[in-house]
Subunit: 153 residues, 2 copies
Amino acid sequence: MQPMIDWNLFSNPAPLINMASRSFARLGERRVRPFGFSIGQLPVVYLLRHGGAMSQKELARLAKTEQPSMAQMLSRMERDGLVRRAPDPDDGRSQLISLTEAALEKLPATRAALDEGNQHALAGFSEDEVQMLVGLLRRLNENLDQMVAREGE
Amino acid sequence: MQPMIDWNLFSNPAPLINMASRSFARLGERRVRPFGFSIGQLPVVYLLRHGGAMSQKELARLAKTEQPSMAQMLSRMERDGLVRRAPDPDDGRSQLISLTEAALEKLPATRAALDEGNQHALAGFSEDEVQMLVGLLRRLNENLDQMVAREGE
DNA sequence: GTTTATTATATAGGCTCCTATATAAATCAA
DNA sequence: TTGATTTATATAGGAGCCTATATAATAAAC
């Protein structure tokens, strides 16, 4: 029987990260909506930003989401005119996804708006502190990715 | 016109935090499900862990979610026998929410399972690094909370 | 005391994400 | 070449979050 050490949401990385994630999403959503994007679409936008094309499978892998999540996301983006699907000439199961011209045009302004908001979130942080935070988060994600992969066995 | 500095998902706190949050949720879900909880319910469980009662409004405020999100969460928890609603004698609009005995009983084992998982996520981190991460995340959340509050004007 | 404003919940609708499973095309084996 | 397996995408169903809005009870104003 362990001693009853009382538990504090604000001393553990997991709940702090969850809160930060939701706040970033709410704020990012407002920044990005005027340009016709939504915040969850940005990983896809990021991956296709140079005008290239990828399969859904590859997008899901690189954005680290499950395939059905990516499929739904792409459906919404296609519906909203942000993304185009073309049949893959080499594989009848697969389609190649790319951004539309409309999406590519709005991209720089969208990114600028989002970056501005993200800068505000780091108000009071020195450059070293930002680098420290990024480094720690990267290591944390490496651990988490391994754990997720391991549990998929 | 800005120079086209290319953009890297892994050098910015926002996407790193989003990824970590999703990984924590996936892993936590598996840890906690055998006990009949789901990961999003933990802030409620945490707030009511001593057997006390709170209104929905107060739970939402303390868990930093919107009221409708909390309402839905409590409906699911009531459906699953984790939570009980009693009418507030002083206010006919309000109900007092508390954990059921079943939920209170499963709480220590649930917390132990979750803590174990969260420890693994910090493999390779020194105590100082954990404290550094927590401190930086706390400051980040303070900034974000202010920004969210300010935009609600 | 009746009308008006505020407050606590509830409901509607949508996005992002998940797990589990179905379908269809491609590949591998016999 | 046919049959079994793998692979790419789609669909179903649900959790958790959000915004916007409706309902009902309380409080405030007149």
